[in-house]
């Protein structure tokens, strides 16, 4: 599928899902025109909406790339959500632990963020390596183990946030807040929970992963394993090690996602049961992007925009938020079926070549 086709697909899916959504909106007695206007205003209507969209996009890009790495290599890491949670939690805990050892200064902030992110990368990488090892050396189906480990991560981190790691004097099950100076600078956008630096980090990770996949033998070995395991083995790739490597890399990127979420968006850590399903949404993002790290960026922008519109609509309209969740679900559903649009295009003579 060409890039152009992918873009067309994303657009068509969104439009179709929105149309269905509008029908439902109208049928339920709300104003569809106002709803549609809200979708656009809420995603890119003004600087604040754009920042909100980019905030969601940043996290989705990272989790999306994490998924893409694994899927590309034929390993179904459905556990990005859990790795993301582990990463974010470890970031906060690490920074809180190290902060007293350094003088409070912006420079220390940078050091702490780097160390926190590094800890997240290690922790989430290890957490992802576990199902990798289990798959490689014990044959445990990674789809199941990673789904299970999502529950485990949420439960354990939830327990830790509630108990041992609850910030002092906190009524809510939250960790303590990160020190004031541990935050990304606000440039261009004023929003407290979005920084262009975070977005840049996400893009940097994309670039690194793209280079890794296309330019290096590690990437070649992984992608080859994904396409055809037997051929990879034939060419000297150690299948088991590659599974572990893949899962680890995927988890490491999920860890970065967790760190960015913790530092840029939240500034502390809370019960992960209430944290968005970025790791699941990432699967849709990655597949829309054909598991191509570069494609993840525009795909995330689409889903980030929808999420952002959702937030906006919940503030500025009476339409129940569940409806927006449902519409996002529909977008995902249609994105999953490009053939639907290809056939439609062919039938209406709009193009789309025979396969």
């Amino acid at each position: 599928m060409t890039v152009l086709e992918r873009l067309a697909l994303a657009a068509a899916s969104t439009v179709l899902a929105l149309c269905i959504g509008l029908v439902v909106v109208a049928a339920a007695g709300y104003d569809p025109v106002a709803f549609l206007a809200n979708v656009f205003e809420g995603s890119f209507g003004d600087a604040s909406a754009t920042a909100r969209t980019l905030k969601f996009t940043t996290v989705l890009v990272l989790t999306g790339v994490a998924v893409a790495i694994a899927f590309r290599a034929g390993v179904f890491n459905i556990g990005v959500q859990g790795q993301f949670v582990v990463g974010g939690f470890v970031t906060v805990v690490t920074i809180l632990w190290l902060a007293p050892m350094l003088p409070a200064s912006p420079a220390a902030g940078v050091v702490l963020m780097v160390l926190g992110t590094f800890a997240a990368v290690v922790a989430a990488g290890l957490y992802a390596a576990l199902p990798g090892v289990l798959k490689a050396y014990a044959g445990a189906n990674e789809i199941i183990t990673t789904i299970m480990l999502n529950f485990v991560a949420t439960g354990v981190v939830g327990y830790l946030v509630e108990g041992p790691f609850r910030g002092e004097g906190n009524r809510a099950p939250n960790t303590a807040r990160l020190p004031e100076y541990v935050s990304l600078p606000r440039v261009v956008f004023e929003n407290p929970d979005f920084s262009v630096v975070g977005f840049a980090v996400a893009l940097l990770v994309v670039a690194l992963v793209a280079v890794l996949m296309v330019r290096t033998t590690v990437g070649y070995d992984m992608v080859t394993s994904g396409y055809q395991q037997a051929a990879a083995t034939y060419s000297g790739v150690d299948a088991k090690r590659t599974i572990v490597t893949t899962m680890t890399l995927s988890g490491m990127v999920a860890g970065v996602a967790g760190a960015v979420f913790a530092i840029m968006i939240q500034g502390y850590y809370s019960d992960p049961a209430g944290i968005g399903t970025y790791g699941f949404d990432a699967i849709a993002v990655s597949l829309l992007a054909a598991n191509n790290p570069l494609g993840v960026v525009p795909a995330s922008l689409l889903f980030g925009g929808l999420d952002s519109a959702g937030s906006y609509i919940s503030i500025n309209s009476d339409v129940p938020v569940q409806l927006i969740d449902g519409i996002v679900g529909l977008v995902v559903l249609f994105v999953a079926a490009p053939e639907l649009f290809r056939m439609a295009a062919r039938r209406t003579g709009l193009g789309g070549e025979e396969r």
């Binding site: 330019r215 033998t217 590690v218 080859t224 055809q228 037997a230 051929a231 034939y234 060419s235 790739v237």
Partner: protein
């Protein structure tokens, strides 16, 4: 056009089938007389499979007519074709591996009793068929297909077609994966079938088989019919000329220099197969510099496992492997590649090439650690591309562009690319498993030339093949494997084909050696 009173079993007229720009069949005429065997010959990609797939309702033809028993028919699906009495034994078997033989045979035509599948009446019918044509399939009806070897699977396919009441049977390269003994059995089966009034189409690359079995032979080239001849009135040379437009001979290629010191040595090797059953038992093997060691044997007697052990894809349960004196028993596949052991794999589709990659990316397969293409783990794609272009040109891969997707190439062209890539790898040892399987004659000759050239430059070559003439033509020594052991190592000049056949069947030559005697080898193949 025909003078017979009976209409032909099948008559195809002006069949045209295109895949995009490729014209796979170009106004092909083809007639299959009742009770006869009609061989279909042609180089790789000449359109044989396509033509038969049209007949079987798998492909929709772009033009032309199909007549069965004189009636004009159009099959939308294999089911239609089947109902009209046409069965096809595919090049790639259409079997469901985890299901039993019986379930596979009756799939889609299950007799039922009160809603449930009536396995006992199905069993009766299948046993009946097996008895009639003297198949051994009835002995393993309850074995899952995945536990069968290729020969047995093929017989299951045949029984399946017969069970469905096929009157016309299309065999697509049935002998490509069979041992000489199995080929003999297949020929017997075909004779039984025609004797019972069935009509057969026999696609093959092997001219002698075509002449031995067929009544008529049709040769295709580039999707067009070159001609149809009576088998009785023609020769191999003539057919070969029709196929490629020149004469081809497989003649003995004795070496021109003496072999050097041993390069690849295995001592007391024991290797387990997939189901952790020992498949290689106490094998000693030495391949010298400047020598081709041929490895003959009925498929499933441990050749695959031995080769995989040597190339580093399978671990060894006991014994040593040495390369230039160095113990490489425990080293990884990658280290062995780097050490210079090249390998043309048995299964080009799943091992030798990544189907979804273009040839550029396939050119890097196995070369991931070669300094020419990779510096500190970074791939130099332009260099890889140059390399792929060189292979494509040198080895006459069609289409002649490295940008073609590997999966879009015909089998023979895939094989040429793999052979080219492995040879260009500049190896010290070449392990070639069935390097010419499914390859057209012109390419066979080319590949043979290359292997011989490798030997002459001092490489140690281990050649595994189920084609006896190939083994005999190329090998300096022939090791025959039987039930995981080297039953004998012989000089090709000292043995006849019959001798080799006997060895492969497990008879030692010093025992009574009567060619063509009954063997019990086949009975053991099921369990492997």
């Amino acid at each position: 056009m025909t003078g017979t009173t009976q209409p032909p079993a099948v008559r195809m007229e002006g069949i045209t089938k295109r895949f995009g720009d490729v014209v796979a069949n170009d106004a092909v005429d083809f007639t299959l007389e009742r009770g006869s065997v009609h061989a279909l010959l042609g180089e790789n990609g000449s359109g044989k499979t396509t033509l038969m797939s049209v007949l079987y309702g798998l492909y929709e033809k772009d033009d032309g007519d199909v007549f069965v028993d004189g009636e004009r028919r159009a099959f939308d699906s294999p089911r239609d074709a089947m109902d009209a009495g046409i069965g096809m034994i595919h090049q790639h078997f259409q079997l469901v591996e985890p299901m039993t033989v019986l379930q596979n045979v009756i799939l889609g035509h299950e007799p039922t009793d009160g809603g449930l599948v009536d396995e006992s009446s199905a069993r009766e019918r299948v046993v009946d068929i097996c008895r009639r044509y003297d198949f051994d399939v009835d002995r393993y009806l309850d074995t899952p297909v995945r536990d069968l070897d290729l020969g047995a699977r093929q017989r299951v396919e045949i029984v399946k077609s017969l069970y469905r009441g096929a009157d016309v049977l299309v065999f697509d390269e049935p002998t490509a994966v069979l041992t000489p003994q199995e080929v003999d059995r297949l020929v017997d089966v075909m004779n039984e079938l025609t004797a019972a009034g069935r009509s057969l189409v026999f696609i093959t690359h092997k001219l002698d088989e075509a002449l031995a079995v067929a009544d008529e032979v049709t040769v295709l080239r580039d999707g067009e019919v070159i001609g149809t001849v009576d088998a009785a009135d023609t020769t191999e040379q003539q057919l070969a000329r029709m196929m490629v437009g020149r004469e081809v001979l497989t003649e003995r290629r004795p070496r021109e220099r003496d072999p050097g010191p041993p390069r690849l040595v295995a001592e007391g090797l024991h290797v387990d197969g997939d189901r952790s059953r020992e498949q290689v038992t106490d094998v000693d093997l030495t391949v010298h510099e400047g020598e081709i060691l041929g490895l003959a044997g009925v498929q499933g007697n441990g050749q695959t496992e031995l080769v995989e052990a040597i190339t580093g894809q399978r671990s060894v349960s006991a014994g040593r492997i040495r390369f230039d004196g160095e113990d490489i028993t425990g080293t990884s596949r990658r280290r062995r590649i780097r050490a210079g052991i090249a390998y043309v794999p048995e299964d080009r589709q799943t091992e030798g090439l990544v189907q979804e990659y273009d040839l550029v990316r396939n050119a890097l397969l196995g070369n991931q650690t070669v300094g020419q293409f990779v510096t500190r783990r970074f791939v130099d794609w332009p260099a890889v591309r140059d390399h792929a272009e060189a292979i494509v040109t040198e080895y006459d891969v069609q289409p002649p562009t490295p940008d073609a997707r590997a999966g879009s190439l015909s089998g023979g062209n895939q094989q040429k690319f793999i052979v080219g890539r492995e040879i260009e790898h500049d190896p010290d040892v070449m392990v070639a498993a069935h390097p010419t399987r499914g390859v057209d004659i012109g390419s066979i000759e080319f590949i043979h030339d290359r292997l011989v050239a490798l030997r002459e430059t001092g490489l140690a070559v281990l050649l595994v093949s189920s084609k006896l003439e190939e083994i005999r033509a190329l090998s300096d020594r022939i090791a025959v494997m039987y039930e995981g052991e080297f039953i004998d190592v012989v000089d090709p000049d000292d043995v006849t084909d019959e001798d080799l056949g006997l060895l492969m069947a497990g008879r030692r030559l010093d025992a009574e050696s009567r060619a063509g005697s009954e063997t019990d080898a086949a009975e053991d193949e099921v369990e492997s």
